[in-house]
C-alpha cells in the first residue's frame, strides 16, 4: 500500500508538473521575452551599423564589462533598486492602477529619510528603522494624494501621478534648499551618522560593496509573492483588477482596496532611494539618481508582475545600463543601451499580445478537435432541439 502510493507519488510529481506547466505553454511563455530581446539586438545592430559602429564589438565590450568585479557589484546594486521600484509599480498593476508616480514618491521619501537620519544621533538599530519608516510613510503619503483623488473625485491616477511627479521635483529642490546645507557647489542634507548607515557586503576583487539593502529587497520580493499570491487580501486585489463589477458583487470594497493598494505601492516606492542613501552616499543631494520610477514601470511590465520575472528583468535592465558605460571608451555613445531598453519594452508587450492571440487560436483549434472527436448524435439533437 505504502510502496504503491510512493511510486504513484513520484510518477505524478512529474505528471503534475507537466499538467500544470504544459510544454507548449512554457515555450509560448518564453517566446515573448526571448523574441523581444532578439528583436532589440537586431534593431540596435541596425542603428549601430548606420552610425558606423560594429555591433559585435559593441556587444562583446558590454559583456566583458559586465564580468568585471566592480561593474558586477554595481549591477547588483542597481538591480535591487530597480526591483524595489518594479514591485511598487506592480502592486498597482495588480489592481489596474497605473502608479506613474513612483518617481516622485521615492525622491521625496529619500529626502525625508536623509533629513531625519541626519538629525538623529545614536539610537542603535532604531536609527535605521526610523529612516525606513519615514521613507515608507512619505512615499505612501505622496501616493495617497493620488489615491484619495481617485476614490473621492474619480481623477485618473495616471494624470494625477504625472502631475505629482512634476510637483515633487519642485518641492524636493525647495525642501533641499530649506533643509540642506551647501558643500562646495552642491546642496545636501546633513550626513547620516554611523548608526544610521547600512553596512555593505564585500565582493572579492573590488573595493565596491554590495548594498546591505539586498536583503530588504529580497524580503520585499518574498512578501510581495506571499501577499499577492497566498492571502485573501492579495486575492481581493487581483479580483478587483480583473473585474471590478464582479468584485463589488462579491462584497469587496473597491474604493478602500484602491486606496490601500495605492498606499502600499507608494510605501514600497519610498524604499527605492534607500539602498544608495543608507549604503553609499549617506546624504541626499541633487545628484541623487533619477528616472528609477520609469525604469520600474518598464521592469514590472517586462517581468509581468511576477516576483521572479521582475528580478530577472531588473538584472537585464541594469546589465544594459551599466555595461554600456564602457562604450564611451570605444567611441560608441552609451545611449544605445537606452534605445535597447526602450525597444525591448515595446517589442515585449507586442510579443505578449501576439502570443496571447496565438494561444486563443490554438485553444479554439483544440476545442474544435475535441468537438469533432465526440459523437455527432448529441450535437445533432441539440441543433434540432
Amino acid at each position: 500500500m505504502s510502496a504503491a502510493s510512493g511510486t504513484a507519488g513520484s510518477v505524478s510529481l512529474l505528471g503534475r508538473l507537466r499538467q500544470r506547466y504544459p510544454l507548449r505553454s512554457v515555450l509560448l511563455g518564453l517566446a515573448a521575452p526571448v523574441g523581444a530581446v532578439l528583436f532589440a539586438l537586431l534593431a540596435s545592430s541596425v542603428i549601430l551599423s548606420l552610425g558606423g559602429h560594429n555591433p559585435s564589438t559593441v556587444f562583446h565590450t558590454m559583456l566583458k564589462q559586465a564580468g568585471r568585479p566592480t561593474s558586477f557589484v554595481d549591477m547588483v546594486n542597481q538591480s535591487m533598486v530597480y526591483y524595489l521600484s518594479a514591485v511598487a509599480v506592480s502592486i498597482g498593476f495588480r489592481m489596474n492602477l497605473f502608479n506613474i508616480g513612483v518617481e516622485g514618491q521615492y525622491s521625496l521619501a529619500a529626502l525625508g529619510a536623509a533629513y531625519v537620519g541626519g538629525q538623529l544621533t545614536g539610537g542603535g538599530p532604531f536609527h535605521v528603522v526610523a529612516e525606513v519608516l519615514v521613507a515608507v510613510l512619505v512615499g505612501a503619503a505622496w501616493a495617497g494624494i493620488a489615491g484619495v483623488l481617485k476614490v473621492t473625485r474619480g481623477v485618473s491616477e495616471v494624470i494625477s501621478t504625472i502631475m505629482l511627479n512634476a510637483i515633487a521635483v519642485g518641492l524636493g529642490s525647495y525642501l533641499l534648499h530649506k533643509l540642506g546645507q551647501s558643500s562646495g557647489n552642491n546642496i545636501q542634507t546633513k550626513p547620516i551618522g554611523a548608526s544610521g548607515q547600512v553596512a555593505g557586503l564585500s565582493y572579492s576583487g573590488t573595493q565596491a560593496k554590495i548594498f546591505g539593502f539586498l536583503f530588504v529587497a529580497i524580503a520585499v520580493g518574498v512578501a510581495y509573492w506571499f501577499i499577492a499570491g497566498r492571502t485573501r487580501f492579495g486575492f481581493r486585489i487581483k479580483a478587483t483588477g480583473l473585474n471590478e463589477q464582479a468584485a463589488v458583487a462579491s462584497g469587496i470594497n473597491v474604493k478602500r482596496m484602491t486606496l490601500v493598494a495605492m498606499l502600499m505601492s507608494g510605501g514600497v516606492a519610498g524604499l527605492v532611494g534607500l539602498p544608495e542613501l543608507l549604503g553609499q552616499t549617506h546624504t541626499f543631494s541633487q545628484t541623487a539618481q533619477s528616472g528609477l520610477g520609469f525604469a520600474g514601470i518598464a521592469i514590472a511590465l517586462l517581468g509581468r508582475n511576477s516576483p521572479v520575472g521582475m528580478a530577472l528583468a531588473a538584472v537585464l535592465w541594469s546589465f544594459l545600463g551599466k555595461s554600456a558605460n564602457q562604450l564611451d571608451f570605444i567611441g560608441v555613445p552609451r545611449e544605445i543601451a537606452a534605445i535597447m531598453q526602450g525597444v525591448i519594452l515595446l517589442s515585449v508587450v507586442i510579443a505578449y499580445e501576439l502570443v496571447r492571440r496565438y494561444r486563443l487560436v490554438l485553444q479554439q483549434k483544440d476545442v474544435a478537435a475535441q468537438l469533432a472527436a465526440t459523437p455527432a448524435a448529441p450535437a445533432g439533437q441539440a441543433v434540432t432541439a
Binding site: 542603428i47 552610425g51 558606423g52 497605473f98 506613474i100 483623488l149 473625485r153 474619480g154 481623477v155 495616471v158 494624470i159 494625477s160 504625472i162 502631475m163 505629482l164 512634476a166 510637483i167 521635483v169 519642485g170 518641492l171 529642490s173 525647495y174 534648499h177 520609469f294 514601470i297 518598464a298 511590465l301 555613445p333 545611449e335 544605445i336 543601451a337 537606452a338 534605445i339 531598453q341 526602450g342 525597444v343 519594452l345 515595446l346 508587450v349 507586442i350 499580445e353 501576439l354
Partner: protein, 417 residues
C-alpha cells in the same frame, strides 16, 4: 410619439448646467479675469504681471505647450491616449536642429514635424494594430526618444561646427513681425494706469516681434478645431473616440482614422518640439523639460476642446514666463489663485457640492495666508504652477470635465468588450 418627445426634451432640460457656455458668458468671464488681474497688478504693484514683455514671453512659451496639447487632442479624440507626447516632442526638437542648422528654421520645422509623426506612427502601430496598452506604448516612446536623440547627437552634431556632445549647432531665426502701432501701445503701458495700461501691455505683447512660428501655431490650432468639429472627417474621427463599435457599424474604418489621428498627434508634438528648438536657437539634451506632460495637462484643463486647450496653454506659458522675468511678480499670483478658488467654491456650493466648496475655501485661505506671511514664492515652487493648477482643477471642478468615452480603451474590430 411620447417617447420621441421625451428623448428630444431631455437634452434641453439639461442645458442650463452641463452645456457649453455661450460666447457672451465667456467674454464676460475673460473680461472679469482681466479686471481682477489688473486690480491685483495695481494693488500689489507687480507691474510685470501685465507687461508686454511678460505677455510676449508667455505667448512664445505657450506655443510648444499648446502644440503638444493639440497633439493630445487629435489622438485622444480618436480614443488613443498619448503619453508619448514628450518623446515625440524630443524627436521634433532634434529633427528641427538636424535639418535646420544649415537649411534654415523652416526646413527644420518641416523635418521636426516629420520625425514627430514617425514617433506617432510607432505609437499607432503598437496601440492600434497590436492592441498594446496605450500608456505602456507611450512610456516606451518616452524611453526610446531621449536615448535615440542623444545617440544621434553624439554621432552627428558632435562632429559639426558649433555642435557638441549634447547640443546642436545654432539654428537660424524663423522671422517675426511687428505691427506699426506697437510703439504707441508701449507708451500707454508705461503710464501704469488701471486697466488701460494693462490692456496696452496685453496687446503690445501680442503684436511686438511676433514670431511667425507663433502665427503658424495659431493657424494650426484653428485648422484642427475646424477639421475636427466642422467636417465629416472630424465627426468620423471623434466617433472613433466615443463609440468605435458603433462607428464601425456605420462603415467608418476605425483603424484608419485612429492611425491618421495618432500620426497627426505625433506631427503636432513634433511641430511643438521644433518650435521650442527654434525659439532656443538650437537643440539641447533635456530641452523639452516635461512640456509634453504640461501639454497633456493643458488638454485636460481645456476639457478636450481646442479653444480651452489653447487658453490652458496660454495660462501655463504665462506662469512660466512670469517666473523667468521676475520671480517677485509670481507672489501676486497667489492672490489670483485665492480669488479663483473662492469663485469655484461659490459655484460648487450652488451645485450642492458642499464638501468640495469647503476644501476650495480652505485652500484659498491658505493661499491668502501664504501671500500675507511671505514676500515671495520660492523659485523652485513657481515652476510647479501648471501641475498644481491641473490637480486643483481635477480635484475641485472635475464634474465639468468629460473625456472621450472610449478614450484609452483598446479597440479590436469585431470584439465587443
Amino acid at each position: 410619439m411620447s417617447t420621441a418627445t421625451a428623448v428630444t426634451a431631455r437634452p434641453d432640460a439639461k442645458r442650463p448646467r452641463g452645456a457649453r457656455l455661450s460666447p457672451a458668458v465667456l467674454i464676460l468671464f475673460a473680461l472679469g479675469a482681466f479686471l481682477v488681474l489688473s486690480a491685483v497688478r495695481a494693488v500689489t504693484g507687480g507691474n510685470d504681471l501685465t507687461s508686454s514683455g511678460t505677455v510676449a514671453a508667455g505667448l512664445s512659451a505657450a506655443v510648444p505647450i499648446g502644440l503638444a496639447g493639440l497633439g493630445g487632442l487629435w489622438s485622444e479624440r480618436a480614443g488613443v491616449v498619448n503619453i508619448g507626447l514628450e518623446g515625440m516632442m524630443i524627436l521634433g526638437t532634434w529633427g528641427c536642429a538636424y535639418v535646420g542648422w544649415d537649411h534654415g528654421a523652416w526646413a527644420g520645422l518641416v523635418f521636426g514635424t516629420l520625425l514627430g509623426a514617425a514617433g506617432g506612427l510607432v505609437h499607432a502601430v503598437a496601440t492600434v494594430s497590436f492592441g498594446v496598452d496605450h500608456i505602456i506604448s507611450g512610456v516606451a516612446v518616452n524611453i526610446i526618444a531621449p536615448g535615440l536623440t542623444l545617440y544621434l547627437t553624439k554621432v552627428t552634431f558632435a562632429h559639426y561646427p558649433g555642435g557638441g556632445q549634447k547640443q546642436s549647432p545654432p539654428i537660424g531665426d524663423a522671422g517675426s513681425v511687428t505691427l506699426p502701432f506697437s510703439g504707441w501701445l508701449r507708451g500707454i503701458e508705461n503710464h501704469h494706469w488701471f486697466a488701460v495700461s494693462d490692456l496696452a501691455g496685453l496687446l503690445g505683447g501680442l503684436v511686438t516681434r511676433l514670431s511667425l512660428v507663433t502665427v503658424l501655431a495659431a493657424v494650426v490650432v484653428a485648422a484642427s478645431a475646424w477639421l475636427l468639429w466642422r467636417t465629416a472627417f472630424g465627426l468620423r474621427l471623434r466617433s472613433c473616440g466615443e463609440a468605435p463599435h458603433a462607428a464601425e457599424s456605420l462603415g467608418v474604418n476605425v483603424y484608419k482614422y485612429k492611425y491618421i489621428a495618432v500620426v497627426t498627434s505625433g506631427a503636432m508634438a513634433g511641430l511643438g518640439g521644433a518650435a521650442l528648438a527654434i525659439s532656443a536657437h538650437q537643440f539641447r539634451d533635456g530641452q523639452t523639460g516635461g512640456r509634453g506632460f504640461i501639454g497633456l495637462a493643458a488638454l485636460i484643463f481645456g476639457n478636450w476642446r481646442p479653444g480651452s486647450l489653447a487658453a490652458g496653454a496660454g495660462l501655463f506659458g504665462y506662469t512660466d514666463a512670469i517666473q523667468l522675468r521676475s520671480s517677485s511678480a509670481v507672489h501676486p499670483l497667489l492672490l489670483l489663485m485665492a480669488i479663483a478658488l473662492v469663485l469655484v467654491a461659490i459655484w460648487q456650493w450652488r451645485t450642492g457640492q458642499r464638501a468640495i466648496a469647503a476644501v476650495a475655501v480652505v485652500i484659498a485661505v491658505l493661499a491668502v495666508l501664504w501671500y500675507s506671511e511671505t514676500d515671495r514664492v520660492p523659485d523652485e515652487l513657481v515652476g510647479t504652477t501648471p501641475y498644481v493648477v491641473t490637480i486643483l482643477v481635477l480635484a475641485l471642478a472635475s464634474q465639468r470635465l468629460r473625456m472621450p468615452k472610449a478614450d484609452g480603451r483598446v479597440y479590436r474590430r469585431g470584439e465587443e468588450t
